[in-house]
Symmetry: C2
Subunit: 458 residues, 2 copies
Amino acid sequence: MEHEIPTTEVAAAPPAVIAAGLADQRAADVVEVLNEQPLEIAAEIISLLPRDHAIAVLDQPGLDREAELLVALPFEAAGPLFAGMSADRQADILRDLEDDVRDQFLGRLDPDSRATVRQLLGYPENTAGALMTTEYVSALPNWTVGQTIEHIRKVERTRETVYAIYVIDPRTQKLVRAVSLRRLISSPPDAPILSVAAKTRPLSVTAQADREDVARLISKYDLLAVPVLDRSGHMLGIVTVDDIIDAIVAEGTEDVQKFGGTEALDEPYMQISFLGMLRKRAGWLCVLFLSEMLTATAMQHFGDELQKAIVLALFVPLVMSSGGNSGSQATSLIIRALALQEVRLRDWWRVIIRELPMGIALGAILGVIALVRVAVWQETGLYNYGQGWQLIALTVAASLVGIVTFGSVCGSMLPFLLKKIGFDPASASAPFIATLVDVTGLVIYFSVAELILGGRLL
Amino acid sequence: MEHEIPTTEVAAAPPAVIAAGLADQRAADVVEVLNEQPLEIAAEIISLLPRDHAIAVLDQPGLDREAELLVALPFEAAGPLFAGMSADRQADILRDLEDDVRDQFLGRLDPDSRATVRQLLGYPENTAGALMTTEYVSALPNWTVGQTIEHIRKVERTRETVYAIYVIDPRTQKLVRAVSLRRLISSPPDAPILSVAAKTRPLSVTAQADREDVARLISKYDLLAVPVLDRSGHMLGIVTVDDIIDAIVAEGTEDVQKFGGTEALDEPYMQISFLGMLRKRAGWLCVLFLSEMLTATAMQHFGDELQKAIVLALFVPLVMSSGGNSGSQATSLIIRALALQEVRLRDWWRVIIRELPMGIALGAILGVIALVRVAVWQETGLYNYGQGWQLIALTVAASLVGIVTFGSVCGSMLPFLLKKIGFDPASASAPFIATLVDVTGLVIYFSVAELILGGRLL
């Protein structure tokens, strides 16, 4: 990738030198340098940047520790920078501040901005309300194309995007139509704005909509921004495509982390504290461990069988892990299919119809491999599985079919179940499925053993 | 979400009725209906839509079976539709066609378009070249702002985006500067275009760049499009933000599927054939199974110990799975951290420094739980672990510390290793890690047992 800044070289330089070097860099590049600096140095660098550039840097969502950075600056420097930032970013920062410091910063805003930020602060995280900006271009229904373009020219500097223009009814304050700048500039200046707007009511989301739903809408209809309405149709703000990309990436991170069996970290790996990380990981690990203790109970239950045919113990890890692996495959496929809405909740039975024969087929393949393995080891004298080795091999093979089928069906149904009861399907982590299948796998294995070996070896 | 079409209702209606109902629907909504119809019905519906609408629908990346749909139509209908589509989408379709049909469709294009599509066909999938469109707005360096806007008006209908304008040197055909439409409309019409363009050379990618790198650039700098250059700086096309969102979502799907231990399906779950899915899943499952067979070998190796203290077998599933679970946690965290470039390849030792104490702490927590469990079961008479039960408990606890530490370190290093040798770090799937850790876990467990129980129980 081009345009990377050699961060290691500047790392040791004094703040003033770094700041001078960053003055003509893109805001996103400055952010990368700041994120690698100690807090005090980073704050000092910000205070040395030209004011507009400092504000652009603070407005970047990629900037870590943004609240700490502002607090680390003297308030006479931090206040004006804060006041210059966009409202959604101001709200992000205020969320991280102590009450008294928050009031101090809120005090720097004019009453209008303060009201806007207070409103944004009211929306729960990861909703359209929390993601949206109030800095959009609106127009009146009786304007012409020319008037609208003239208006855009005037307000352009203070708007996050000017590529979508929203026509608002002045009486009801409701959103009437949306027009793209593209349509405006390709239309005659004296045409009424409503005559060039799309004929259909604009797509919109409510302030409470989950960021995943907003992302789906923007990506499905290739939008650059989507308006956020309150329940009565009044326009509150817009969510722009660049905010939604960050949200999609964050969702992807959450999904992978959850699927790996951790709580979502919410912080970069290298920055979360040791104790914070321990908490996020130990919780799930303990729950899994406690559930997995059922395997010891199951093994104890089959203690007699084990005594009589210790050779059964040899294959416990193998059959158990196969169930976990096939379950983990099925789960990951369904988590994604649900997330992309390729599969809906009501399709669960179609999935069973696919997974049942799939599990049997996969289990049969592994079963054959197991048969061959035992036979080869026995016949070549690599290991002696005892007199009834054919029956042992059959036990392993038959239970593999059962366990892999159970793993596939179970693994594919768990995300549906979680979604149905209101959880994130991605919480069906690979370790979760493995644990679920391990205990049942043992029971299947020993039951098959009793069936096949009963009266002979057992 | 608003604006959903009640697909179940229209499903049984005759094609002409469905087509009439879809005539004023958004292209993305028509796509959803078509994807749920049998191929012949879907093709007939397309043939009944107004031509421009049909082309817009075929241009949607969400449309499945797009090549089959065109082939299912009579060629006199399919040809003009194909010719109206955008070049990048034409290339997508030609990739899926047999050679003779491909030539037939290529024959419908004028020589210029044919050359463009042939060029697009040459780029490997998932690269900037394969994602890009050649339909962008370019301007000459000696134009004024007004001239440029006038030019945009004229070409607007045939361009994928008009919000970024690229100034090309007419002599060298190289990209000189990029200007946003936003800057153009807020600048005086008689200003030279170069005077309002950004002062820095535009960000760009090469045609060979991976879609992940393009996504990172667009998301980092909040771009609406990024120009694609050949090695000598000639402009080939642009990748727009909506294409990149689709690519980010597809990458996320691949990552979750790989992490779950399947090959990336590349097709929706409900649409891939049974055999296709079996192939994608059986491959990895067999590899894992063959590796996991080493657990049987390990168990065989410790056969004598098992004979003497069958009680050791009871805890095999428990200690083994704990290693897998902690490994899966660590792997998922590092896969994401690497994907987001929070962690670079050279940071591997920093990660070890974090994971080593983390593993010891997590292992100690689980070890204490195990100690308590054995003691409670023994003392309350729920199970009799025999005379040396304290030593058994100690063995389980101590090996948990070892195994969880090993799992965490191993799990965190595997993505680095894969990346280093040129693989996708996401191939370090949860089952892969579990398998890796299972075998070693058994060896650790029995070695600790020998150390603690040697001379007493063993």
